[in-house]
């Protein structure tokens, strides 16, 4: 699995939605599955999958799948 697929899988597992629904444009609080409770599950999942430690700014800034990629890139995760 490349990092793009890992990211899709992490979102899919944490939010309980099919991987094909995980697109760059998917945004926090626009689907019932991605609410503030699921957001914390998602953060823990991303930390596990990519072996990073996210801080509180990252959690607040992670408002979309596209943003998640930008934030993970700060921690040297690359997406092609």
């Amino acid at each position: 699995m490349d990092t793009q697929q890992q990211l899709q899988q992490a979102f899919s597992d944490a939010l309980g939605i099919p991987p094909e629904k995980v697109t760059d444009g998917l945004t926090y609080n626009t689907i019932p599955e991605w609410d503030s409770t699921a957001h914390m599950v998602l953060i823990a999942e991303l930390e596990n999958v990519f072996d990073v430690m996210l801080d509180t700014d990252d959690i607040i800034d992670m408002s979309s799948v596209a943003q998640a990629k930008l934030i993970l890139q700060k921690y040297d995760v690359t997406f092609v």
């Binding site: 609080n29 503030s36 409770t37 930390e47 430690m53 509180t56 700014d57």
Partner: protein, 357 residues
């Protein structure tokens, strides 16, 4: 959308703006908020219109406050019902609950500001976190209680979250001890509501003769002292019992309310509550509502720049407090600092509304 926020308002240092600059900023925003709610909330407009008060010529700190209890009696909102993203309600077990309507933008702004305030006490890094509550508290459906909002907001600062209580609100000793064994030597965050921390956690540990020795923990707690006072527990005895039972814990009370979620007042090392840059407190005489000097005890009014979806930017609470000073606390934080003494005795808050029934 409310157009009146200066650019970079939410990037201001939390406790770094001195009086003149802070009051100038607040005056501008609060006055515009009054004008905005006057246009968007009919009940608020009627309240303003039936008083001789002219908000257009009044400074921000002289804007007419809305009595907190009106949020229990009325549905005060400046947004259309279809725009309501979340309804908040107070967790009070007795009587009616306040109902606060938030749109998506307000909810987002509240968490943003809460995070900024807490970051200045906790740093940006997240810590292993012990929550003195039950997992079911945030899972309850329907509108969100202040307690759930607090748990959820502060959870951002934690990792490896551990709920200390079971759903029957009893301490799960095994789970707590497992958490302590694993993280005792790390910087840990403990969060909970004051009375739950006292009765369900500290007292339960003491009864069972259990002691833990955290090397570097911070406890944030809030929700009021009413039940603590009934048991004659003071801030001092509370802190002492925590250190005896849990080890090296720095303890910070906070004051806040569902009517102004986000702008909380956190207690410093010297025992005073501090106003962040986005909010302010005014103490008023309980008999004629005139503003009082620092050092005098009276009703607490809270002003906040955050409420745009409901007219809650200036609220007169039913709590009594005293402002100690402004910009000169020994802890170095700027802004007013104050103490809360508790609720107004019930007999005093009976209004005259009965005369109309």
């Amino acid at each position: 959308m409310f157009p009146g926020y200066p650019t970079d308002l939410f990037d201001l240092p939390v406790y770094g703006l001195a009086r003149a600059e802070k009051q100038a900023m607040l005056n501008g925003v609060l006055q515009q908020l009054t004008a905005y709610h006057y246009r968007h909330c009919q009940a608020y407009q009627q309240m303003i219109d039936c008083s001789p008060f002219d908000f257009r010529n009044a400074a921000g700190d002289a804007q007419l406050p809305v009595a907190a209890r009106l949020f229990k009696d009325l549905e005060l909102a400046s947004i259309h019902p279809t725009q309501v993203f979340r309804q908040m309600r107070s967790s009070g077990t007795s009587g009616q609950a306040s109902k606060i309507a938030l749109d998506g933008e307000s909810a987002r702004r509240q968490s943003q500001v809460l995070v900024k305030i807490l970051q200045s006490w906790l740093g940006k890094q997240r810590r292993p976190m012990l929550l003195i509550d039950a997992p079911s508290t945030i899972k309850k459906a329907g509108s969100m209680t202040a307690r759930a909002a607090g748990l959820q907001g502060v959870s951002l600062f934690g990792r490896h979250h551990c709920y200390a209580l079971d759903d029957d609100m009893q301490l799960n000793v095994e789970r707590v001890l497992a958490f302590c064994r694993q993280y005792e030597q790390q910087p840990v965050l403990i969060f909970g509501f004051t009375f739950l921390v006292w009765q369900r956690f500290i007292q339960a540990l003491m009864t069972q003769g259990i002691r833990v020795s955290f090397s570097n923990a911070i406890l944030i707690h809030g929700g009021g002292w009413k039940k603590m006072k009934e048991q004659a527990v003071t801030d001092k005895t509370f802190k002492a019992a925590i250190r005896t039972t849990l080890g090296n814990v720095s303890v910070h009370d906070y004051y806040g309310m569902v009517e102004q979620t986000g702008t909380i007042y956190v207690q410093c090392e010297n025992g005073y509550l501090h106003t962040p840059v986005w909010s302010d407190v005014i103490i008023r005489n309980a008999n004629d509502l005139s503003p009082l000097e620092h050092g005098e005890s009276g009703l607490i009014q809270v002003n906040s720049v955050l409420p745009t979806s409901y007219p809650g930017h200036c609220i007169l609470t039913e709590d009594l407090g005293t402002i100690i000073g402004e910009d000169d606390c020994q802890c170095g934080r700027l802004g007013k600092y104050f103490n809360v003494h508790g609720r107004v005795p019930k007999a005093q808050v009976k209004g005259c509304s009965d005369t109309f029934s």
